[in-house]
């Protein structure tokens, strides 16, 4: 749909055009190179024995029969691999954080269903699978804990007895101490004593979900060269290379990591995995190429999960709806181990619980807890959807308490356009937004008033199918990240991004980017940016990425950083090319450098008709027959960009649901959202990112749930049990955009990838509750499946009778 405010970029540029994607053709014709499609001479296939129990000591592992099985080349347990190094975590959130032992192949004990016990290598995958069945393991069962709150109780079973506790770390943020606001505890005490204020306390649950990328993870390692080559279905080839070298027996300069075509990630492939490490270890042992591809069932057990928080929230407000304080107490489930960002994911939410609102006092406290479940880590939004859920659910609770319209209560608290840049109570500075304009547009598109009238009519007539309307006005931090900010959080890396531009003699351009795509359309969007900078046709620009041998420097793809940080690195690289070309242009045009003007690929002498194109200069530089003295014959450039601040995408999301109270079935009838993602580089890609995020957010709200039994068995371990939305499960989305340019980067862009997963769950749960509040329902467990809805209605009815 059209934008409500015109993009500022002139229509003659590439930025802002809905270009069809460069990358589509090979994907549409099956000319793809997924990791699992690679086959090398002599390659052996690995299969893994994974733990069927959640917590046990491994008292005996008999691999004798497996070793004798047809086609088997080798079998290894953890004890057989003394060279394996501990898997790293890259974010030590506090000085007292406890990091448990975590090896590619378990040593002595298993801590969750899916933990790796042994590796089999065989000449075919079938033979490897068959041999795994022959491994005999004696398990001495140990007590299991799966609930993060129960794990904190005295006498709870310990996931890692050697740590003496299930508490991984605690972390807090207080606006009084930070100087960004008052003391939340004091403000809440004052509110409790003030008849003109209300204090609302709620405990909310963020369900455990999983990224569920459609391409299973796959790894191929070829040890037969100076550099070992590792192909992996990963979002982060540069990080994999570095962490592998820092923890396993291979040096950084002896390892090349390639992420070929990667079939989705969503944070699920933002990891350095045990499987990557063990394939390398076995390939080194055998000196043969090795491949391991996970089955979907293995993926569900061992690829990291996400969310899984208990949120104890306290909100104080005056009776006119003005918020006076917010206190957040989180219990966050780490699972059994720490992945690269596990412990820090909830902290990212700590900066966002205040949402788009002016909150004078804020306190955030998080306890990271170990349980006998698969580890959690990043998933599209990473901490921010959890925070948005918390605050947006509380805003609705406040509206109900004060009998205000949920949009109105938000409007009374949100930051006004003229107040940007706005320093928040959590210590961030929001760049730009106009929440009034975006929300007014969304309400109009949605037909909010008409829907409220229909809701009233149907409630009066006793319709058993109830209409619910849900609101969420989200904001999200994007563009990880200013390195100094990460340093302050003790994060294990910088947040810069790198790009290079290679000017080819024929005038074509190769862009080498440190961020790697897995569906986002980097090749298209980056070509649009470079085309505008260098005046080279869109078609003449190609992208090289995802290979540490060709794109040697990068921080990879996560946290909505590819455009906001990676795009800016490319802009900088392009401008360096122009600066290098200028003296050569002056030389060709026999003019002074100071008199050279540049615009979109054309260098001209000010006040004359005389000009030369960047393509001509590229060929002339390659020939190098006649260059100015002392200049290298090279226009290529490298640029590393470190952002000064984040950018903040925002916008209202509105959901209309029909809840059939008899079976508890929720049908999403309409969904409207208006995003402010800054300048749109490619509206087609922006829409696709919004739609995809929405479907995932809807999945969390209505369908998806990673469920463990009390003894730690995963009962939603396949796509038959874990319900990823299919086409009939989502409505036609109605979207629009408003544009306030980001002030933290010269492109004016904000991020878009994580908007849907952040905003949709609270919008939908608020809608379901809105439908059911007349029945006395005050809370509902995500996902809002028929059984959860039905249970909430029954409980409300019982409480009503008591």
């Amino acid at each position: 749909m059209s934008t409500t405010t015109a993009p500022t970029e002139a229509a003659d540029g590439e930025i802002g055009r809905a270009r069809l994607r460069k990358e589509d053709r090979r994907l549409l014709t099956g000319r793809t190179r997924w990791t699992d499609s690679l086959t090398l001479p002599g390659m052996v296939h690995l299969s893994l024995l994974r733990s069927p129990v959640a917590h046990a000591r491994l008292t005996n592992i008999d691999t004798g029969a497996a070793k004798q099985a047809p086609g088997v080349v080798g079998v290894w347990t953890g004890a057989d691999l003394p060279e394996q190094g501990q898997m790293p975590t890259a974010w030590t959130v506090s000085e007292d954080m406890l990091t448990p032992p975590f090896f590619p192949v378990s040593v002595g004990a298993v801590k969750h269903v899916g933990d790796i016990i042994a590796v089999v290598a065989a000449t075919s995958k079938e033979e490897a699978d068959d041999a795994v069945e022959l491994i005999d393991v004696d398990y001495e069962d140990l007590p299991v804990v799966t609930d993060p709150v129960a794990a904190l109780a005295d006498g709870a079973p310990l996931v890692h007895p050697e740590l003496g506790t299930n508490v991984c770390a605690t972390w807090g943020l207080d606006s009084g101490a930070l100087g960004t606001g008052g003391s939340a505890a004091e403000a809440i005490r004052a509110a409790e004593a003030d008849p003109d204020q209300v204090v609302i306390r709620r405990t909310l649950r963020q369900n455990r979900i999983t990224p569920a990328y459609i391409e299973p993870r796959s790894i191929v390692v070829d040890p037969t060269a100076e550099q070992v080559t590792l192909w992996s279905a990963t979002q982060v080839p540069h990080i994999v290379r570095l962490l592998m070298a820092m923890t396993q027996p291979v040096a950084e300069h002896e390892l090349r990591v390639i992420a070929p075509d990667v079939g989705g990630g969503f944070g699920g492939k933002l990891q350095f995995t045990r499987e990557e490490a063990l394939v390398l270890l076995i390939a080194q042992r055998l000196q043969l190429p090795c491949k391991y591809t996970e089955s979907r069932s293995e993926s569900m057990q061992s690829s990291h999960h996400a969310r899984d928080q208990v949120q104890e929230l306290t909100l104080a407000a005056r009776r006119d709806g003005t918020i006076t304080a917010l206190e957040v107490k989180l219990t966050a489930d780490m699972g059994a181990y720490l992945g690269i960002l596990t412990a820090g994911i909830p902290l990212l939410g700590g900066f966002m619980f205040n949402g788009i609102y002016k909150i004078p006092a804020y306190n955030f406290h998080c306890t990271d807890v170990f349980t006998n479940k698969t580890m959690t880590d990043a998933y599209r939004g990473a901490g921010k959807p959890e925070a948005t859920f918390g605050i947006e659910r509380m805003l609705d609770e406040l509206a109900v308490e004060l009998d205000l319209d949920p949009v109105e209560v938000r409007r009374r608290n949100w930051i006004k356009r003229e107040e940007f840049p706005y320093a928040t109570v959590a210590g961030l500075t929001y760049d730009s937004a106009d929440y009034d304009q975006a929300t007014d547009r969304a309400l109009e598109l949605f037909g909010y008033d008409e829907l409220r009238a229909e809701q009233q009519r149907r409630q009066s007539s006793g319709d058993p199918v109830r209409l619910g309307i849900g609101v969420c006005t989200f904001v999200e931090l994007s563009g990880l990240a200013p390195s100094r900010v990460l340093g302050g959080l003790n994060y294990g890396s910088g947040g810069w991004e790198h790009a290079s531009i290679r000017m080819l003699p024929t005038g074509k351009v190769e862009v080498v980017a440190g961020t790697t795509p897995h569906g986002q359309g980097h090749a298209t969007a980056f070509a649009q940016i470079v085309s505008d900078e260098l005046g080279v046709p869109f078609e003449d620009i190609t992208l090289i990425t995802g290979d540490t041998g060709m794109s040697h420097k990068g921080m990879d793809t996560y946290g909505s950083r590819s455009l906001v940080v990676g795009g800016m690195a490319i802009v900088g690289a392009a401008r360096k090319v122009v600066e290098k070309a200028k003296p050569i242009a002056a030389h060709i045009l026999e003019a002074d450098v100071a008199d050279i003007d540049y615009h979109r690929g054309k260098f001209s002498v000010r006040g004359t008709q005389s000009s030369v194109t960047i393509s001509e200069i590229a060929l002339g530089t390659w020939l190098a027959h006649d260059l100015p003295d002392g200049l290298e014959p090279n226009l290529d450039s490298d640029n590393t960009f470190d952002p000064e601040n984040f950018s903040f995408a925002s916008g209202p999301h509105l959901a209309a649901v029909e809840v059939d109270t008899q079976p508890g079935q929720v049908t999403l009838r309409d969904y409207v959202c208006v995003q402010d993602v800054g300048v749109l580089v490619n509206p087609l890609i922006v829409n696709g990112q919004v739609h995809g995020g929405l479907a995932q957010g809807i999945g969390q709200a209505l369908y998806e749930d990673i469920h463990y039994t009390e003894d730690g068995q995963l009962t939603t371990g396949t796509f038959a049990d874990y319900l990823v939305p299919a086409a009939p499960d989502v409505p036609r989305f109605r979207t629009d955009t408003t544009v306030t340019e980001s002030t933290t980067n010269t492109l004016g862009v904000k991020a878009v990838g994580e908007t849907g997963t952040t905003a949709a769950p609270p919008a939908i749960v608020n809608a379901v509750l809105d439908a059911l509040r007349p029945l006395g329902v005050r809370d509902i467990t995500m996902p809002c499946t028929p059984v959860n809805v039905w249970t909430a209605i029954q409980q409300a009815a019982q409480q009503g009778q008591e």
């Binding site: 549409l28 391409e215 739609h691 479907a695």
Partner: protein, 186 residues
């Protein structure tokens, strides 16, 4: 081992397979047809969908021996010999019906069959018809738009892919394997 004869994208191959070998694995591991991909182990995701005698099947739910004598069409056979995209491919391109592209081979093959079975589907019928194919990237809107547009194109140019892909009538005559239909009850 069992000897079978199978025609994949117009090339007939005689191969020996284990009785347990799945069609998906035969295509990928033995015949080099890596355009067809595998996304799950419960026949839910549909990424591996191909046409078997003109009818879409999940190739992970078909044994290779069941495909003896069959004609299999994969994503790699859709485009013309000159590289011209098939109308369904063109529609997915124009309507941003793909992002990472992993579900795309299955989506395309299912869409060909869907439109053949129902030449002018409503949006709801398209969504229902695709429910056995999961996409995690697009939220399905681009895909649904693409299939609707493809159906329109197919109506306007009736002589086309049906002849290239083994007609539906032929397929029903030869009998699609039971239990291998693309539509899955969720």
């Amino acid at each position: 081992m069992v000897s079978i004869s199978i025609t994949v994208d117009d090339v007939t191959r005689n191969v020996d397979v284990q009785p347990r070998t799945l069609l998906a694995h035969l295509l990928r591991e033995r015949l080099g047809k890596t355009g067809t991909v595998i996304g799950c182990d419960t026949s839910n995701c549909g990424a591996c969908t191909v046409l078997m005698d003109g009818v879409s099947v999940k190739s992970c739910a078909v044994l290779a021996v069941q495909a003896d004598g069959a004609r299999i069409d994969t994503v790699e056979g859709l485009a013309g010999a000159d590289g011209t995209l098939h109308p369904v491919q063109q529609a997915f391109h124009e309507h941003h019906g793909l992002q990472c592209g992993y579900c795309t081979p299955g989506m395309l093959m299912r869409s060909v069959c869907l439109v053949r079975e129902n030449p002018s589907p409503t949006e709801e019928e398209v969504r229902e018809g695709l429910k056995g194919n999961m996409c995690r990237c697009t939220g399905y809107q681009g895909i649904v738009d693409a299939v609707m547009a493809y159906a329109q194109t197919a109506q306007e140019q009736p002589a086309g892919d049906a002849d290239d892909m083994g007609g539906a009538d032929d397929a029903y005559a030869s009998g699609a394997p039971s239990g291998a239909a693309t539509e899955e009850d969720r």
